[in-house]
Amino acid sequence: MSSLDYFLQLAVNGVVTGGVYALVALGLTLIFGVLGIINFAHGEFYMLGAYLGLVLVMRLGAPFFVALPLAMAGMALGGIVAERLVFRRLRRTDPTQSILSAFGLAIALQTAALQIFGPQPAVIRTAFGATPVAFAGVHLTLQRLLIPFLAAALVLLFHLLVRRTWMGLSLRAVAQNPATASLMGIDVNAVAAATFAIGTALAAGAGVLMGSVFLMQPTMGSMVVLKSFTVVILGGMGNVYGAVGAGVLLGITESLTAGFLTNDFKDILAFLVVVLVLLLRPAGLFGQQVERQSL
């Protein structure tokens, strides 16, 4: 294996995991950007999405490409319910209350999943998972190769939704200034529900994609939410395109660190970069310093 092949393989591995980081972080940063909520239960939406995909594919025999949108739609509903029950009534209170509630929700969902699905790891088996693909010395399964493309497609869909639709416009308006938006006749509650639906659906999509490649467990959300939070900070809090870029970047950096240094340094590096970014570029890698609004 030549060193170029080695580098390429590592880079491709990084893009695959990075694509998933990007999807999860996109939802996390969207919810923060529009509603100012740091949703620590986001990793659990990712986990539940994976399990929903598992049930659809393995129990009900749905094809993977049907299961993916179905799981996303199902979790979008779940996100709306979570927003309505947990976050809506806390919107005008101290932000720490919604953070604590998000933690509570995360624990509740994780425990529920443990009760329903059991603690043993499981995997979504698909035909693509067994199909090997090799190009330019890089080995993958078709299933893995699909991840960056499907992730890119979902990001594009998200982009169109936010930029080209009436809902996207109201989303951006609320993100800019909720009070003014509501004065202009935008239903802030509806926007909040839509934000959660979109964010959760993206997390669920990422969960299904990962669940088809890696083993899933009810505890899988905890590490992902930390990583995604890293990505959100790197991309600039609330900056959706920053999150996508930072997600892919983090995936590749981790892969190269583990490949050329050692696996131990992988997680150290990610969090070290966060500290550096917070010190040197507090608005994120892609962020612009925003002038403090005068009152």
Binding site: M1, S3, D5, Y6, Q9, L10, N13, V16, T17, L114, G118, P119, Q120, P121, V123, P132, A134, H139, L140, T141, R144, M210, F214, L215, Q217, T219, M220, M223, E254, S255, A258, G259, T262, N263, D264, K266, D267
Partner: protein, 510 residues
């Protein structure tokens, strides 16, 4: 004096300085210039260090329950009383004087009888935790209940089981639990132990060391178990066994292999027992098998970043290099990791003949799957922790050719083991494996010791465990008998299985 400092805002501190003529504790208040807390604190500290007062307890007769009073006489009342009569300077209340350093030293009568009583109660609690009023109420309730049940049937013998029922090691844990369950049913079916039934009290440690410690403490203090069985992860067994050692409650492993846990025992005085070979023997055997039987010379190691993985890696490295092989790479991963593409890509570039995995099932299955996806063709050899049918199920065809060190297979030529395999398969509908076999042996070895100890007292059980000599294990080659060494470890030959057509096949013992 308090009011004065409150108004002036000057730093002040109050320290005990003896007892008044009536036996009440008196305080000494030190006041300094404004913003000079450092001096007042160091002066108070110097005073406390050089005087005995902070350790004395007010010899109060008034108030408080009668029982507590007799105790105080026994514990510390004598000394306090002596002090009062012998050495107490007769301090007058409200007396003040100017010290030569310029400090105002004022004596105040600070405490009334109620406060003195409270202080004494606090002291009593520290000395005699069981004498807490609430606790004693519960204790007497428990006594009444115990008497009531004793009238009916003999109390069951309680054994605590700590295993990671949830979390990353849950598969192994459920297999071990099945083995334990079968041993329990058979023992109780044969009349229990010491004429009493055996009852198991389960606690989940979730593979988390702190939870293991809490579980051990809870089982020992609240459930009053006579012995402990557990746990699976060595990193959890290590601190949990420490609890058992301190409480002098014997503990038999529920699968932990790292020798660091038995090495934590005092030689000749072990409280933690492992009834099968430890990580050093397992690592040694696997390493020799790889080099000698499988003839692999260029080796790599992937090991879990825990006590278990590290111990195995170290032994494997030492033995293989001594046997003439070369370790080209040694990488660690975390328990719970799912993506091994990068370390495997690295291995692919190094092209080793054999890769040793020192870890547990979920990660092992992921490594095998992803290695085959990446097109990495090499001989994988696994540590005992990867021993499960679940691994072959999760890894699928990728597990073909995978070699693993094993202490039990249903196809074993150990007659006791083969019989156990049949009963196990009949009871649970799945084949027994190393985990279920070690769980089965763990409870049986404890029951055997209880039988011989003729007592449920910790030391008696421990001594009986140490004297174990005729215990026929279901694990290991034919005729394996468990004998514990001075640090609670046991030794027998470990086998090697290779996965063929989705099933593990035990290679004959050499």
């Amino acid at each position: 004096m308090l009011r004065g400092t409150n108004h002036t805002g000057l730093p002040a501190i109050s320290v005990p300085c003896g007892f008044t003529a009536t036996g009440l504790p008196a305080g000494l208040q030190l006041i300094s210039r404004a913003c000079d807390e450092a001096t007042v604190l160091s002066a108070a500290h110097a005073y406390e260090v050089n005087t005995p007062w902070r350790q004395k307890i007010a010899p109060v007769e008034a108030g408080g329950p009668a029982r507590a009073d007799t105790e105080s006489t026994r514990d510390d009342g004598d000394t306090a009383r002596d002090h009062r009569s012998r050495s107490l300077p007769r301090i007058q209340e409200g007396q003040a004087m100017k010290h030569r350093s310029g400090w105002w030293i004022a004596l105040t009568r600070r405490q009334d009888v109620a406060i003195a009583n409270a202080a004494k109660q606090v002291n009593d609690r520290q000395l005699e935790p069981r004498r807490l009023p609430m606790r004693s109420v519960f204790a007497s309730l428990a006594m009444v209940l115990a008497l009531a049940t004793a009238a009916g049937a003999a109390e069951p013998v309680k054994i605590g089981v700590i295993l990671p029922f949830t979390g990353g090691s849950s598969i192994a844990s459920s297999e071990i639990w099945n083995g334990i369950t079968l041993a329990l049913e058979e023992a109780n079916g044969a009349g229990g132990v010491l004429g009493r039934k055996i009852e198991l009290v389960k606690e989940d440690d979730e593979s988390v060391p702190t939870k293991g410690v809490t579980a051990a403490q809870k089982l020992i203090t609240r459930d009053k178990v006579v012995a402990l069985l557990g746990t699976y992860n060595s990193a959890v067994a290590l601190p949990a066994s420490d609890v058992a050692r301190k409480a002098k409650i014997p503990m038999v492993t529920g699968g932990s292999t790292a020798v660091s846990v038995t090495k934590a025992n005092t030689p000749g005085d072990p409280w933690f027992f492992r009834h099968f070979p430890g990580s050093d023997a397992q690592g040694t055997q696997s390493a020799q098998d790889v080099v000698v039987r499988l003839k692999k010379k260029r080796l790599a190691v992937l090991y879990e970043n825990t006590a278990y993985g590290k111990d195995l890696e170290k032994t494997f490295r030492e033995v293989t290099t001594k046997a003439g092989a070369m370790i080209v790479s040694s990488e660690t991963y975390n328990h719970g990791d799912t993506d091994f593409y990068t370390p495997l890509t690295k291995l692919k570039s190094l092209a080793p003949d054999g890769v040793y995995i020192a870890g547990l099932i979920a990660e092992g299955a992921a490594i095998l799957r992803q290695a085959s996806e990446l097109g990495l063709k090499t001989q994988f050899i696994g540590s005992g922790g990867l021993m499960s049918d679940k691994l072959t199920e999760l890894a699928g065809p990728a597990a073909e050719g995978f070699a693993i060190s094993t202490m039990y297979e249903p196809s074993t030529n150990n007659a006791v083991g083969a019989e156990f395999g049949k009963r196990f398969a009949k009871r649970f509908g799945v084949a027994a494996n190393t985990h279920s076999a070690l769980g089965y042996d763990a409870l049986r070895v404890l029951v055997d010791a209880l039988q011989r100890a003729r007592s449920t007292e910790g030391l008696a059980i421990r001594n009986a465990l140490m004297a174990t000599k005729d215990f026929q294990a279901v694990q290991g080659p034919p005729g394996t008998k468990v004998v514990f060494d001075e640090i609670g470890g046991a030794h027998f030959k470990i086998g090697l299985s290779v996965v063929k057509d989705g099933k593990r096949v035990l290679l004959p013992y050499e």
